[in-house]
Every structure is written in structure tokens, then in C-alpha cells.
């Protein structure tokens, strides 16, 4: 299980980073959300993996609730962040007429 | 729990599993997009419904707590499946422009632009 999750986290991170390195806003936003999945998962597993041990106080065993609490808020915040990024991307596109993120014209070849 | 209930639950589970599999398989197998709509919206819904009831029963038997969420989920699925079907069908008809029979009422299909002469 651990191996699987570790690989999953790695894949998510790699994909997120590759997308974030693209030169257009939308892929970057997608990449960011992928990356935040990875990060959330990572923080979550820092409480180690325990099956059937939800931290609902009854009769033991419980997994570590703290990372869950942190990730929970992180999920909501990352929505807020994505929303802000989206509106900024929109504004940039609508006012500038293109959605390239790099200011200097190093990607002249990919004019739409 | 009594053997009868256990048999019932197991039967429901098996049925659910089969239907779920069939639904997804049909999605893969059927030809036309319109036909493909049927598989998940019907078979899969039945399958998941069955598994829901089974699970609800099982947990009730195990914990003695009746959890009506299971019922709610089932209700929800039965309510929404046709809607998703409708929307998907509309999308399909809008994008892929399959030939649809006339409505017969003279009025065009919902959302269809009247053909300009």
C-alpha cells in the first residue's frame, strides 16, 4: 500500500510540475491543482497509513487526526487559491488578448 | 444474523456486482452513443442500488443502527440517473448531430433550432 501511495504522490507531483512549467495559464492552473492534490496527500500520509481507524472517538485504534485537520483546511484554501488564479488568468487573457504567462516574447512561435 | 437475511444480502451483493459489471461492459460494447446511454443509466444504477441496499442491511445487522443515508443515496441515484442521461443525450445530439426521427407533433425537438428555409 505504502509503495502504491508513494508512487501515486510522485506521479501527481511530476504531472503537476510539468503542467506548471507550461507557458499558458490554463495548464498552469491544472498543474497547480494536481500539485495541491499531491501535497495534500503527502501531508495526510505524514500521519501514516491506518485502515479502518477513522479518528472518531469510539473504541480504538485511531489514525492521526492532526494531518487530516490540516489537510481539510488546506483543501478548502486551495479552492480559494485556484479561484483567485482563475479570475486572474481570465483578466489577463481578456485584457491582454493572449493567455501566455511569460511576459517576454520567448514563445513567439506559438502565437494562436 | 439469521441465515435468511445473510442469503438475501449475499444475493443482493452478487446481483449488484453483476449489474455493475454489465453496465460498464455495455458502455464498452454497445455501438451507438444513444445505445451506450442505456448501459450505465440503467444497469449500473440497478447494480449500485442493489449493493446499497445490501450494504445498508449488512450494517444494520452488524451495528443495529438503521442508516437512512443508504436509502437517500439510492433515491438520489434513481432521481438523477435519467437527468444525466437526458443531458448527455442532448449533448450528443447537439455535437454529433445524429439523425433523429421527427417528433410527430410538428414542434421541433427541445432546444433544436427550427430549420430555416
Amino acid at each position: 500500500m505504502e509503495v502504491l501511495i508513494a508512487i501515486a504522490i510522485g506521479t501527481l507531483t511530476a504531472c503537476g510540475i510539468y503542467l506548471m512549467l507550461r507557458a499558458r495559464t490554463f495548464p498552469v492552473i491544472l498543474g497547480l491543482s494536481l500539485l495541491s492534490y499531491a501535497v495534500n496527500l503527502f501531508i495526510f500520509i505524514s500521519g501514516r497509513i491506518r485502515l479502518d481507524a477513522a479518528p472518531i472517538i469510539a473504541d480504538g485504534p485511531y489514525t492521526d487526526p492532526l494531518p487530516q485537520a490540516l489537510v481539510l483546511t488546506a483543501i478548502v484554501i486551495s479552492f480559494g487559491m485556484t479561484a483567485v488564479l482563475v479570475i486572474m488568468a481570465l483578466g489577463a487573457y481578456l485584457t491582454a488578448g493572449h493567455d501566455r504567462i511569460d511576459t517576454e516574447d520567448q514563445h513567439a512561435e506559438d502565437q494562436p | 444474523m439469521s441465515l435468511g437475511v445473510e442469503i438475501l444480502i449475499s444475493a443482493l451483493l452478487v446481483i449488484g456486482g453483476c449489474f455493475g459489471l454489465i453496465g460498464s461492459f455495455g458502455l464498452l460494447k454497445l455501438r451507438g452513443a444513444m445505445q451506450r446511454l442505456h448501459a450505465p443509466t440503467k444497469a449500473t444504477t440497478v447494480g449500485v442500488g442493489a449493493s446499497l441496499i445490501a450494504a445498508a442491511l449488512a450494517t444494520y445487522m452488524a451495528t443495529g443502527v438503521a442508516n437512512w443515508q443508504g436509502v437517500l443515496v439510492a433515491a438520489f441515484l434513481f432521481l438523477t440517473a435519467p437527468l444525466s442521461g437526458l443531458m448527455l443525450a442532448k449533448a450528443h445530439r447537439h455535437l454529433d448531430r445524429p439523425t433523429v426521427p421527427p417528433t410527430g407533433t410538428g414542434a421541433p425537438w427541445a432546444g433544436e433550432r427550427p430549420v430555416k428555409p
Partner: protein, 923 residues
Amino acid sequence: MSLALIAALPFLGALTPALTQRFGRGIATATVALFSAAALLLILQHVPAIMAGQTITTQINWLPTLGLNANFRLDGLALLFALLILGIGLLIQIYARFYLDTSEPYARFLTYLMLFQGAMLGIVLSDNILLLLVFWEMTSLSSFLLIGFWSHLPKARQGARMALATTGAGGLAMIAGLLMLGHVAGGYDLSTILGERAAIQASPLYVPALLLILLGAFTKSAQFPFHYWLPHAMAAPTPVSAYLHSATMVKAGLFLLARLWPVLAGTPEWFWIVTSAGLITMSFAAGVALFKDDLKAILAYSTVSHLGLITFLLGLGTKAAATAAVFHILCHATFKAALFMLAGIVDHATHTRDIRALGGLRRAMPISFALASIATLSMAGIPPLNGFLSKEMMLEEAAHTAPWVIPVLATFAALLSVAYALRFLVYTFLGQAPAYAHAPHDPGAGLWLPPAILAALVVAIGLAPMAMAGWLVDAAASATTGEAVHAHIALWHGLQPPALWMSLAAVGGALVVLGLYPALRAAWDGAHKPDAKAMFDAGMGWLTKTATALTQGLHNGSLSRGFAVGLCSFLALGLYAYLSAPTLPGTRALTQISFAPVVAFGLLMTAALAATALHRKRLLALLLTGIVGLILSASFAYLSAPDLALTQITVEVVTIALMLLALNFLPKTTPRKTAGFRKLRDGGLAVAVGTGVAALAYTLMTREAMFPPISAFHLAQSLPGAGGHNAVNTIIVDFRGYDTYGEIIVLGIAALLIFALTESLLGTRWAVQPDHAAGDEGDAHPVMLQTATRLILPMAMLVGVYLFLRGHNEPGGGFVAGLVFAIGLVLQYIASGQDWAAARRRIPYHAMIGAGVLVASATGIGSFLAGRPFLTSNFTHGHLPPLKDFELATAALFDLGVFLCVLGAVMLALDALARLAKPQEGR
């Protein structure tokens, strides 16, 4: 306390000119003078104690953990400097009042002046070297403002920049040096450091610390080879030159040397570096001064030379030498400040400072002539003036120092100084008067009184040194050397002292030099001289070029490039951390794995990879990302984190709605890019980082925590402490309520920001028309959908309420409930459109956010009423069939705030984007 007050007074004074300027320059000057005078009086009130050998200190702990305390001390040395700063400061204020033209922004000048005074006073009074550093930098800044006061003159700007760059750089070096010093001494208070002589001089850090500190002191005191900035700083108004560049700021470096004399001096390093720097500066600058024609330039180089003299004395490291140094600081301040003021007067009267165009002013300006001759002769070291005394002491010390080159150089420098001093006097006031544009005349008392007072001091100290200055010198010298000093300064020590003969030789030589002046001058003019300014500019240019090149290389406006560079450095760091420490084997048993999770995670990774590969088809990529989120939430449920599952699921759908709204505007596909190597680079980088993270995650998961996790406490306290079974929820609303509180506020701010941006977007004209060509299907709002959603809304709300109420004991809570409500509402928007929904919306979303934050805050504050700290929860249990036992806790109230805030924020964001999509006129 009074010391802190004294240090604060000038700063307070700096505030006044802005208020008092409307009452005229006189009032403004009087006000600031009042502050300086008050400070002076407060200082003087301590004099008896100082004379008794005490040290006044004030302790104010500021950042004790950093060893940064606002401690002030007043001893003899500080007293001497404080008197100079405040006394001459007062004279300068008067002088400036009459010197500056009425058209100048006088209030600003006064403010800068007082700022500088405060900073300077702070340096000499501070007992903590970190505090001293702060004031040190402040002097650099305020002097920058003062030198560049006539900012319309390019020379002023350049001079100011040069001074700031040089002294600032020195200051930086000095910070490092002083930090080392404090580190070695085990404390940053002078009282601590001064006691640690042995430890400091034994430590290996001594030499580097010494070098760095000297760098700071030499740049500030314009010692060779950092002397170049001082002459260029002469572009400042003359009062500034008189104040900063003769009496105070340039002496800050000397002050530091004297201050740290007990711990730093006495070693060969100190002796050779400081002495040679001083000697070279002294003779070299004196030589240059001889060939300058600008009055202020002559004075500037003479100042450099005299500073060199004092440095030289401090470098010798003997008690007597230190005494002489202290005494000369005093003498030089008096006559040099006076000379600067007189130069200003001459400048005013004749509108030139070139001594070749001057002459014969003795008749036109008798008062100035008298004062100038006193000051100049003192500078030349002619008895019976105070300059003579201190120079005698200097020569005396030099005479007793091996090797022979030292006394010779000292005499030579003395000779040169006599020469340039005489030249200064003669060329300006004696000889034939050229034809002046309009007849020069003595200025009003306002201008000549300040230098007169100083000249009087010059004479008085010269005639009765012990009575006038002896006590001060003794106190200062004792404070400098750290042992009681009783100097006996007298005009006449008899015929024995070599100093007498040396100065006689100097005078004779000077006359010879002046006799040969034309020839020497010709040689000088012929000689090729390196231009300090050109070198400086070249150096600065090189620095700027390098910095620009570096920045361009790392981050040339291309965000993705900057990001890539950042990633590389992270990778390097991680690699270093991995290689530098041993990795323990994993002890934790692996969790057994079953079929479905494998499938699910396989699906997740496939979806992620596919989304990456197909990211050009944006809608598809979004769909695939959705799958990732979906499976992630499922796996949260599987990994016994139901709360996370619920949250992730609900956030997922609102995110998708958001992205779809955005994608409606953005291009639906990304154009293909040709740069293949870039793909390669990014891919490699991504894979590397991914691998690293995966390895890290695996290592983390297969090892137990090094120390017991804090959450043991949360689990234990969840029920008794917070009255909730759901540990996650109790952490969110209770244990770490502060985090949540801050977070919902952030969320609200984000939503408001989105709203604001949308508004501005609606206001501006768009460069592109979003292509809505994607869909032109006929019925926007299918009736079936509408009908069904009306049914779904109450169900959703029921679920929301249910999740909210039981949130404290079972998975759920404010976040999820808010999101569920939001989904129900979004569905209405989708089915029936924004107008329809807006028409039926009772509460504006802004209000919802506000209410949420208010409720949360009220809950937090409420616990104050119970006399408990912020956000302490209090609870009882209620029972409301068919629900299980739920919570009536303040925590639940807080959760309500969370709920409202989340709901409002999400809806506000989506609503804003939806309004953007509506067809607008005028674009």
C-alpha cells in the same frame, strides 16, 4: 531613563519643522534648537558624575533573546562626542538659518539635520553594538539626504550616492565584524565586550573581526584608500559640510576605534594596520590639499589628513597617544567647523570658492579675516592655539615610535599642513583684491557669530588647556583607555621635547615649500593622477553589470524559467540533505494491499498522466483532473479519513464548475509549441522532483515518528476537553480554532478579491471576444432539469444541515455543510440561470461572508466573558430525534461561522464568474 530621552530628543525635534515652518524660519530653527539645547542640558547634568569617574547607563530590554537591548551609556568619551554633536549642532542650526536662501525647503533641511543629529547621538550613547549599528546606518542615510540636499545639482546627487555607497558598504562589513566581536565576547553590550580583552584577542576570529570593523571605521572616517568620497561630499550645503564632514560624522569611525580601543588595540595587527593607514592618509591628504584651489576642497583634504592623524594616534596603542587623539578630536572639531563656516561666508560674499580668484579680503571682511586667521593658524599648529597643542602631542608620540619612518612622515605631514593652511589664508585674505562682481563685505552676526564662538574656544583652549579642556580630555581618555588618565597639556614643555624641534622644522619647511610652490604646482599639474571618481564609477558600473547579468541569467521575466530555477535549487538541497545524512532502515510494517485500491490508484495515475499528455485539449484535461480528484476522495475514505473524503468530493465539484466557467472564456485548446528541448527540460525536471517526492513519502510512511505526535493529546482530549467524538472536527473548531478562524477570513478575502477583479473586468474593455461558439443549443434551461433541481435543493440542504449538526461527533462540520449547500445552489444556477437565481437570492453573499466572520469572532470573544482565552469552547449535549446525540457547543456556533463563510465565499466566486459570462454591451 534620561539617556534614552536624550537620544530621542533630536528625533522628536525632527518632527517639528513640518509643523513650525509656517511660522517662519526663525521659529522653526528656535524649536529644533530647543530640542538640541534640552538634550545638551540633560547631558551636562551628568557631567559631575562623569568627572567622578562614573558611567551612566540606561537599560531597556528590547529583543533580549537576540541580545538586542536598547541600552545606553554615557562615559567620558560619549560625553566628549555628545558635547561636540549637540554644541556644534546648535551653532550649525543658527548658521544655517542665515546661510540657506529663503527659496530653499528649509523645513526639510532642518528635519534631515535633526535626524542626523539623533543618529549621531545614538551612536555615541548606545551601549549595545547592535543598537549602535542601527544608528550607524541611520547616519549614512541621513547624511545621504543632507549631501544630496541640492538634488537639482548632479554633483550633489553623485556625491551623495558615492558617500552612501562607500559608507554603506563599510557599514555592512562592520555589521559582520561587530557580530563576530559580540559572538566572541558572549554578549552585545559594550559593558560586556569591553571586559573581554583577553578572550577577544586570543580568539581566531580576532583578525577577521578587526579587519571588518576597521573597514567600517575607515570608510566612515575617509581613511586612505576610502578617502575619495569626502571631497565629493563637499557638494553639500556648507553648514552640512561644517557639521558632518568636520565635526561629527567623519569622526564616527574614530569614535568606534576609540570605543573598542581597550579590546582591539595593543596587538601588532592593530598597530600596523591602523598606524600605517593613519600615516598614509595624513601625509597623502595633506599633500593633495596643498594643490587644491577650491576652499572647501582644501578643507576637505585637510580634514582627511587630520582624521588620518587621529587614526595614527589611536593606532599607536599607548595611553598617551590615545589621550592626544581624544584631544585632537576636540581641537579639530573646533577649528575645522569654524573654517568651513568661514569658507561658506566667503562663498556667500564673493560667489566663488576658487582661491585663485580670491584675495585681499582682509580689508573687505575684517571679522571673517580675524576669525579665519585664528582657525587657520590653529590648523597649521601655530602657538598659542589649540591646534598647536594637539599637534605637539602627536609629534611627541611619533618621535618616540620606531621605525624612524614614522616620525619623519609625521613631520612631513605637519610641514604640508602648515603649508596648505598658510596658502589657504594668504590666497584668500591677503594680497591684492581682484575685481569682485560686487563688493564683498562681512555678513550679519547670524553668520559670523557661530564661527566666532568656535574661534574663541580655539584661543581659550590654546591658552588655558587644562582649565578649558583638561577635565574633558581626562574623562574621555580614561573612558577610551579604560584606566584613569591625567593628561598635562601645556604650551611650553621646555626645550627638551623633540616635538618642538620637529614642528619648527615643519614651519621652516612649509615656508620653503611655499617658496617653491609654482614649480611644485607645475610638477603636480603635469603629473598623471588617478581620478578616484572615475575609478569609483567604473567599479559601480561593473557591479551593476554583473548583478544585472546574474539576475537575467536566473530570472529573465519568464515565470516558468524562474520556477524551473527554483525547482533545481530545491532538488539540489534535497539531494544534499539525502547524501549528507545516513538513512535509517524502515521499521514500520507495510499495510497489506487489496485489489480495488490498486485499480483505483492505477486509474488515478493514468488519469493524471493522461491529463498531462493531453493538456492541449483543455476540456478533456479538466475531465481527467476531475477523475483524479474523485479517486483521491474515494481513497481518503478508504484510508480512514472520512472528513477529508467529504471535503474533497464537495470541493471537487465546485472547482470543476469554476474551471468550466473560466474555460468558457479561455481558448479551448493550447496551440502546439515547437520548442522540444524545453519539453525535455521540463519533463526531466518533473520526473526528478516526482521521484524525490515519492522516495520521501515512502521513507516517511515506512518509519515511525521520532517523537510522540501531539495528536495523542487531541485524541485524548477530544471528548472530555472539546466534547466531540470527531477528533478532526474538534481540532478544527476547538484545538486549532485560531487556524480555522484565520483561514475562513482568508477564504472570505479571496472571494472578495475575485468579486473586485470581476467588477474591474466588467468595467474595462476587452482585447478579445471570448468564443462562446462551443454551444448554441436551443434551450438554455431544460425544463426537466429545472424541475428536478428544485427537488434536489431541499435534499441537499437537508444533507447539509445533517452533516453540520453531527459534524462534531461524526464526519461532517461547517466546511462540508457549507460546500453541500453551495452545490445545491450551484445546481439551481446551472439549471435556471444566473438571473433567475439572483432574483430569488435573499441574502447577498458578501453579507454571508461577513456574518460568518462575525459569528466566529463573536464566539471567540464570547469565551472572554467566561474569563477564558479566545475561542475556548464550552458545551452541553442536546438530543433531537431522528438525529443522534448532537452538540450544543460554542464550538458549534463557531462552526456555523465557518459554514456561512465557506458558503458565501464559494457562491460569491462562482456568481462573479457567472456574471462575467453574461453578454455585455460596449465590447
